[in-house]
Subunit: 324 residues, 2 copies
């Protein structure tokens, strides 16, 4: 009496459900064991044609679905604890599902975030993958958006804008200014984000406020400032960009405004009290995560100001990605 749905789960996802709380995916629910830690809960979905492209390789789609959630977990200062997966599929296509499940399993292992359960449904529409991920932090220690104070340093990890360039590159098929390897590197940045899991402890120990940058640095910083009731002053020259983005900037193929308004970076944006800056920077180095100071939190409730090398403020036309 087994169904296609049960077969699909048994074939592709049961091998991933190694956590005892997953009950081998044959129960209706999973268990997260009780603990004095707080459980951080976050949910992010990705939709074909919106968050990934129809011809993106299935392994990259799997990794992105999990990693956009792991990025939130890390930005809150939490350690991954597990996830549940909802998969809306048009059909059971083994050629697509096998690499999808394999890559998901690799990331679940690599990030110590086991698959706990899920739901598989049919849809006549685009593929959609919804993940709810869990993290643990000591009670009361989740790092919120709202904790910044005037004078705190503003840090961002990695580099900003590559994913936006990668999406443009994937859509264009080729970009005049780039060789094939560079083109591929940018597309990879769009397809497979790198959650800053290694920085979670440093964020928890030192940051006053934090969030992940998913809808564009400028807009996300504005959200953090608004939640904290403050503003910020950012040096455009301080914003970390990759060597490839720097080449495209120099060739005037993109602008810094576009890079900081583009989505899909999945870097951590956080604020650190001045007295903790040295310790945070040292912890980031120890975790091997690049963290760059890009400015400071300021009093007032205006939008964050972005200042160019010439001291002039740049006014942004568009600060972030919105679905609607």
């Amino acid at each position: 009496m087994s169904s296609g749905e049960d077969d699909l789960i048994a074939r592709y996802f049961k091998p991933l459900a190694t956590d005892p709380g997953a009950f081998g995916l044959i129960d209706d629910a999973a268990i997260l064991k009780g603990s004095t830690d707080d459980l951080v809960v976050t949910t992010d979905a990705i939709v074909e044609g919106v968050h990934f492209l129809a011809d993106d390789p299935p392994d990259t789609v799997a990794r992105k679905a999990l990693r956009v959630n792991l990025s939130d977990v890390a930005a809150k200062g939490a350690e991954p604890a597990g996830f549940v997966l909802t998969l809306a599929l048009r059909e059971v296509n083994d050629t697509w599902l096998a690499p999808f499940a394999r890559a998901l399993g690799e990331d679940a292992t690599g990030f110590a975030c086991p698959l706990l359960g899920g739901d598989t449904v049919s849809t006549p529409g685009p593929l959609m993958i919804s993940v709810t991920a869990f993290g643990r932090v000591p009670a009361g220690r989740m790092v919120r958006r709202s904790g910044a104070s005037a004078g705190d340093a503003v840090f961002v990890t990695g580099s900003i804008g590559d994913a936006m360039l990668g999406l443009a590159a994937a859509r264009a098929g080729a970009m005049l200014q780039l060789d094939v390897a560079s083109h591929g590197a940018l597309v990879s940045r769009y397809r497979v984000p790198q959650p800053r899991t290694g920085l979670a402890r440093a964020v928890r120990d030192h940051a006053s406020a934090a969030m992940d940058v998913s809808d564009g640095l400028a807009g996300d910083l504005a959200k953090l400032c608004k939640a904290s009731g403050l503003s910020a002053e950012i040096g455009l020259e301080q914003i970390p960009v990759s060597p490839l983005a720097a080449i495209l900037l120099a060739a005037k193929a993109t602008t810094i405004e576009a890079l900081i308004a583009g989505g899909d970076d999945y870097e951590i944006l956080c604020t650190v009290p001045e007295a903790r800056v040295a310790a945070f920077a040292a912890a980031a180095r120890a975790a091997d995560v690049a963290a760059t100071r890009i400015g400071s939190i300021r009093s007032g409730e205006g939008l964050p100001r972005f200042i160019g090398a010439d001291g002039r403020e740049i006014v942004l036309k568009r600060s972030s990605y919105s679905h609607f």
Copy 2:
């Protein structure tokens, strides 16, 4: 710098986020406070055209999305603790969203299951609502599918098959055998399930195995038996059907086979050791939830057997709903 997406969340869903762990939906994640209880996690999605119809009223869609998950929580013997919501929308349609959010809020309050967070994404395809719900049980007390023993009584709550009839009625527009009120009552059973939250404590205290009936009683019982390594013998005459279903059965407009193979009942199926049957039945009465004994668990690993009033076994052609 607020976006349409942020506005949508602030307008419709922030009023629902009354739990302190939801942080008013302005953070990237929510908190479930640490506790010695185990946290039960379940996730179920509903898709337009698959789990609900395009012209189903938005308030019923909201209630169904949450309730199918609350049904799982109750079947595991757990008390609701909160939920996160992923909403994939084609557009921001206030006429649809306002009643959707209002009904979701009413159910969140009514079932003591607060909205903790979510994600809203755009899709070119069908509406999809994915919910991950949480429940709490004392450590180690989640009721699994796999705990049944030979001789245990098999119970099911409410009545079986109305939702299947309701879907048929909704699709047909009218059914010859039914007056308008009866037609509407069956359609309501399809659109708005009644999770048996009140029975959770009795299930936890007395049931050896439990699950919710969502894909058809026959197929779901087979899953419970398989997980327990056992079989069952069910009296077809004992299976509870509503007065309306009884009328349709008498008119030969449906069959008992169809009723027990149809989906969307969202009743609790559980097994209770003989020594606990009286206490379970008393607890169900005290909770005002109808629970009917329909048969017994048997040794062996064959499919559950369904026996008619004449002592003859009915062989089912199709036992449950599968997406693929």
